[in-house]
Structure formats: structure tokens, C-alpha cells
């Protein structure tokens, strides 16, 4: 074992010899020791946990053992996660690490469970994606909240999450879940019409309409332009969403179409010149349009 390998993940602290590391490992494995002492031993071991199979096995056991203190288990997870930044070391432990994560992904502790699911979701783990989708279909089996599940499913656009996301967007269990479902669908080419409808719906909140504008820009920019023009010219729309419309036209509008749209240009020029009672944010957006498009 090379001395440098015993450094902590941040590379701080003195290098430790084999005997010291063995002592730290012994403290970590001793359930009779105070938690603080074991936490310190774990921190001192750092990436050295991956040097020997027995040491790695002990840390993985610590992570997956529900009888161990949760602070210690979370710390073990953090140290293991830090090892992923060292591909060569991580390659050796990857399979065992994933296996341990799958085990704790249904742990009673919500934080541990949620963190494990997050790591697995980032690895595009199919079993995790299935569990998350199952939880969305049958809330009684859910491991995390629907909004969290949708967020985690968003890490892999090839997971088959779009149908359930669409269903949640239509009949959400709560507003946050709906927002996450819409975020997920922002990469779904078949959802452009959904976002256009939401964007043009005055009954929707500004946040959701802004999200829809962003999604529409991603999926069908030409349709966003038409919607943005309509919103901009509609004085009954809230100023916030009109500002979004003007900004969209300023930065993403088609040059030729914008140049030839005399009605819109005259309207925004007048708006930017300072109509009485208009929102300052909207006026600023209009001035930016004039400066960029009509200068």
C-alpha cells in the first residue's frame, strides 16, 4: 500500500502507515466505541477504505446495517461517494457499492434512502427507475415523494417515465409534483402542445407558465415565438409573463419576422418609451427589445 493512498479525499492531513490505518479500521468496526470516535476513524481512513477488500467490506456492512447509528451510516455513504471521484479506485469497488446502495435504497431512514436512490438514479440504474415508477403508480409503495421520484427519473431521458409524468401533469398529487413532471416532460418532443396550452392559459401560475415557455423554447421555438407575441400584445396578461414574452422575442425571435412585424415593433417602442402605469420590469424588457432589434 502506498503511503499517499491513505490521504483523506481532500488530500489533507499526514500520510498514515499501515498500522495506523489498521487501528482506525478497528475503531470503526467496534460497535462499542462512541459514535464520534468511529466517525473520526472513518474520516481518517478516507479513500484508504478501498485499499483492502476487508476494509471495504466493513464499510459497506456499516452502510447497510440498520442497527448502526444513522450518522455513521450517512458518513460511510459520503466516504464511499467521494471514492467515485477516483475512477481507478472506484472501478474496483463499483459493483459492491451499487449492491449496497440498492440495499439501502429501501432503508427506513428517509435521508439515507433518498441519497442512495439519488446515486443510483444518476447511474441510470434500471432497478431504481422501476422502483421509482412503481412508487408513482402506486403511492403506497413509494420510497420517496412523487416530486423527488420525478426529479430522479429526469436523470435518464431513456427511462420510460414520460407516460407517468404526463399522467401526473394532468392530475398531480400536489403542485410540486406537477412542476417536476413538467420539467421532466420538457425533453419530450411529443409534449410541445401541452406546454403551449399551459403557456397560453391565464389561469396558470406565472412560475408554471415560465417553465412552459422554457420548455417550448426547447421543443418548438417557432411556436414559442407566436405565443410570446400574443402574450406581449395582450395587456390583460400579468406583467411578469409579458416580460417573459418580450424577452423571448428579444433573444430567440426570428430576425426577419421580427423586423417585418411593424405592429409589434411600434407597440414595444411605445412601451419602452414609458407608457403611464406600465410595470418597470416590462418597460425594461421592451427597451432591451428595441435596443437589440430596432437599433
Amino acid at each position: 500500500m502506498a503511503p499517499s493512498s491513505s490521504k483523506t479525499p481532500r488530500g489533507r492531513g499526514p500520510t498514515a502507515d499501515a498500522a495506523t490505518l489498521a487501528a482506525h479500521a478497528a475503531v470503526l468496526a467496534d460497535a462499542g466505541k462512541p459514535v464520534k470516535q468511529r466517525l473520526a476513524a472513518l474520516a481518517a481512513l478516507g479513500w484508504a477504505i478501498t485499499d483492502e477488500p476487508q476494509r471495504l467490506a466493513a464499510v459497506l456492512k456499516l452502510l447497510t446495517d440498520p442497527s448502526e447509528p444513522i450518522q455513521l451510516r450517512l458518513a460511510a455513504l459520503a466516504v464511499l461517494q467521494s471514492a467515485t471521484f477516483h475512477p481507478e479506485r472506484f472501478e474496483r469497488i463499483r459493483a459492491d457499492y451499487l449492491k449496497a446502495l440498492r440495499k439501502v435504497s429501501s432503508d427506513d431512514d428517509l435521508e439515507l434512502r433518498q441519497r442512495a436512490l439519488g446515486m443510483l438514479a444518476r447511474e441510470h440504474d434500471p432497478a431504481t427507475q422501476e422502483k421509482l415508477i412503481e412508487g408513482l403508480r402506486e403511492p403506497a409503495k413509494a420510497l420517496v415523494t412523487p416530486e423527488k421520484a420525478l426529479q430522479l427519473l429526469g436523470y435518464d431521458l431513456h427511462s420510460d417515465a414520460y407516460p407517468i409524468a404526463r399522467a401526473i401533469a394532468e392530475a398531480p398529487p400536489n403542485e410540486m409534483a406537477r412542476r417536476e413532471a413538467l420539467r421532466l416532460l420538457a425533453a419530450d418532443g411529443a409534449s410541445a402542445q401541452l406546454f403551449e396550452n399551459i403557456l397560453m392559459d391565464k389561469g396558470e401560475s406565472c412560475e408554471i407558465r415560465q417553465l412552459s415557455a422554457s420548455a417550448l423554447h426547447n421543443l418548438a421555438p417557432e411556436r414559442l415565438q407566436a405565443c410570446a407575441r400574443q402574450i406581449t400584445m395582450d395587456s390583460s396578461e400579468p406583467s411578469d409573463i409579458r416580460s417573459v414574452g418580450v424577452t423571448a422575442l428579444t433573444h430567440f425571435g426570428d430576425d426577419d419576422t421580427m423586423r417585418q412585424d411593424e405592429v409589434l415593433n411600434a407597440y414595444l417602442k411605445q412601451l419602452g418609451d414609458g407608457s403611464e402605469g406600465e410595470d418597470p420590469g416590462l418597460q425594461t424588457a421592451a427597451r432591451q427589445y428595441v435596443a437589440k432589434r430596432l437599433a
Binding site: 475512477p87 472501478e91 463499483r94 459493483a95 434500471p126 414520460y162 419530450d188
Partner: protein, 529 residues
Amino acid sequence: MAIDLVAPPWTEQDFARAVEALDPHDAVDRAELVSFLDERHAVHRQRGAAAVGRMRGWTLLALAKAPLRGDEVMFVLEELQSGRTAYELACAARALRGVASPTPAMAGLVLRAASNLRATDDHVDLTRYGGLADDGTDAPTAMDALMDTLAWLCTTVPGTAGVLASALRSDDPPLSPGQRDRVERCLAHGLPEPQDHPLACCTSDADWSGLRRSCSEASISTDAITFEDQDGNPVGYANFFRGGPTVVVFFYTRCNNAGKCSLSVSKLARIQRLLADKGLAQVIQTAAITYDPDYDLAPRLRGYAESRGMCMDARNRVMRTTAGADELHAHFQLGVNFIDSIVNRHRIEAFVVDARGRISASFVRLQWNEEDVVAEAVAVVDRAAQADSHESVTHEPDGNTSTPTRRSRLQAWLAPPIYLGMALLPKCPICGATYLSLSGILALPHLDGIYWMMPALMVLTIVNLAGLGWLARATRDWRGLALGWLGATVTLGCGIALEQPAGLYGGIAISLIGCLAARPRRGRPCTVR
């Protein structure tokens, strides 16, 4: 037992049971198993990418229970070369041991799989469908499965050691130190390198290039296929592909397998450089077409291709279909399937299309070599050139060949009058009116009392000159008006006032030339703005 695809829904477990029930030793069952590996098969439709991977892996395992032969081997090799997930790679590694005639070069693909697995290894349980081991059992990893297969190749296929030693020396594919150790252990227990078994004879992978040659008349109409290119320009299939032989690759920007789409477009960029080096950049076109036209809009296409070194112009485009996607898929028989709008599985595909829009050669499943594709494209150019020269060299009835022949001499004689006739043929109302005017002018001298019609002739001449003036102003070309003016002067002055027939006909001729010269400029339709 066949899956009832007519009456979905069926679950993955139903599929797994159906596959298990098929007998790989029975020809009919085996054909059905192989059909499940076709990306276009209905079983893959509307399934997530992970589900499709599990289904393919399970099918490979079932197939390998009987010796794998011919094209069946390609599916295994494809997975080893381009696969990224632990389960699929482990299944492919196990299936490789069912190949009827393994070769040493297959060890190279196992190493490639090991390299691909560096960031995705996992415990796998190949005894059960989709078997990721998360139930506490001590299952081996996918890397273990690959190394077992490598060890099997080393101990059963002479020449494998040479392939492995060569790969380790060149570090291609790149392996981690741990993987190198394991490969060296396989080598240590392998068969000694045979003296009479030179490496070259064993590593030929010509049969694995995925190359298929064909040039039959397409049964699928491509007329309805239209594209939008990286700049948003509309492009018709015929308009683009009939501009010359074309190398076509398929891809989509959201592909998360770096060994497929991203690599294909990067290799197409290299093909462009090879063509430029050979002076063929103006002869052979290139095109990259997305599988995902809803999402891959023009700016995305341009950014994706640019970042991979592709040059884009009128002969080299990156395109998405705007109409006729089904016809395009049918024409190229694309190996791709979808869940909603997202691709869930596709194979590697590159084509050489001839100047008539027909597929001349295709490279599918396995990684293609840029030089091979260029060679195929050059062969298409050569064949077209030979066909052209063959058309000009026709056979005499007595069997002798002569150039030019009687037929071509006849064509040479007939061509000028035909072309002249076509050029003079009135093709629009203005041309027609010009010819009618000419007829009328020529007939005027034969009318009785023509000299009493001076006022009418003056009016008509003024109308003619006014028309020419209007045309001249519209086209900014004053030559027609000048000639018309000269013609009128000669006709009225010399022809009528001085009663000189030569002046009359000369003036008419000059007026006619003026009318012809006043036509709109070349390149514009024969209409007046």
C-alpha cells in the same frame, strides 16, 4: 410459445417466459428468437431502453444454448463492441461461448467490452431475467463474465494469446491496471501461440464489417420524404441524393452511448477529410440524418455536427425529416425503435447511396471503418462512370463495337435542330405574343393598301416601343428597346417612306431581334415582374 403481440399488454416477465419456451434447436423457434434481436420488432416498441436491453440479453442467452452461426454471431459481437450496460455485456460474453466457430479476433471484442464496462460494472445473475444481483447473493460481476469468456477463448482457440498480447502492447482498447492484470492472468493459462498459425490469418474481421452490398431498384417511393437541414433549409430527398453518390449515417443528438451516434458523426467528419484529400469532396456528398426529428431541430443539428468536426454546405448536410419519416425508415430499413418520441434502441448504420437515391452499400451493427466506406463510395462513382461510357459505346448489329456509332452520329446531327427548335418554341404568353407579332408584321406588306395604313402602323410601332421600354425598365436591360427603336426607324423610314423592300424586311428583322433581346434575364422565370 409465441408472444401475442396482437393483444397487448404483456409484461417483460411474459416475454421472458415466451423466450424460455422457445427451443433454440428448432429452426422455426430459432428464427423467432433471432427476430427478437431486430430493433424494428414490435416487442421493442414503447419499452424503455433498459427493458429493451434486458429483453435482448435474455434472447442472446436463449439463442446461445445452441451453436451460434452466421448472422447470429453479429448480434453478440455488436453487443460486445458497443454495449455499455453490465447485464447486456455479461449476456453477450456468455453467448459468445456458444459461437460455433470462434476466432482469435473475437478476443479483441471481449477486451473492447471490458473497456466499455469500466464505468458500468455491476453484479449480474444470468440465471434470471434482467438479473441484476441486489438480493444479497454473491453473484459475479459482468467483468467476471467477460474474463471467463476470455479465459475460455485463450484455452480453446489457438492464436488468441497473440491478439491479446498485441492489444495489451498497444493499449487499444484502453484497460485499467486491474483489468490488464486479469487479462495477463488469462494469457498465462492460455494455449501457447502456434508457430504455424500466423496472427494475420486469424484476425481477419472482414466478415464482421457489417457490409452489405445491394443496388436494386427501390420499391419504396422516396418522393414524399423531405428534410430540413442544419440551417433550416428545406431539402427534398431527390433534390439532395440525386446530386451525386452520398455517404449517409444515422444518429440522434440525445444518444447516451458514446460508441454509437457521437462516434458515427465524428467518423463522418473524418470521411469528409478523406474525400477532400482524394479530391472527391465535390463528387461524393455526405449526410447525417437524425432518428429524432422532433427534438433535433436545426440549431441542435448544427451544434452537434460542428462540435464533432463536420463541415456543412450544400453538398454536406445534417438533416431531420419534416415529412415522410415512415418512408425514410422503410427505404433504409432503419434498425431503430422508440418509446414515445425517444429512441429506445438503435443499431449503428451507415449507407452509401448512389446518384439515383438507391442504397448501394450498407454498414450495419458493427463499427465501420472510414476507409472502407470511402472505398465503397468511390466504387459507386467508378461504376457510374463505367455505365456512362458503356452507354456511349453501343454494339453494331454485326457485333462489332465502334465509337461513335451510327446511332450516336445520328444523335449528333439531330441534336442542334432539336435544341434550336426547343429554344425557339414559345414557352410563355410573352413569347407567344412575340411570335404572333412577327407573323403579323411579315404579312403586312402583302395587304392591299398597306401604305394607306400609315397611321395604324405608327400607333402599333409606338405600342411596341412602349412595351419594350417597360420591359427594359423592369429588367434594367436597354438593348431590346434600342433595337426596337432602330427597327421601327428602318421599317418606317427605309421600308415604307422610301418604299425599299430590303429596308422593310431589315427593319422587321431588327424589331424581332429587339423583341427577343428584351426578354427577362437568364436564371429568372420567363415572366415579367
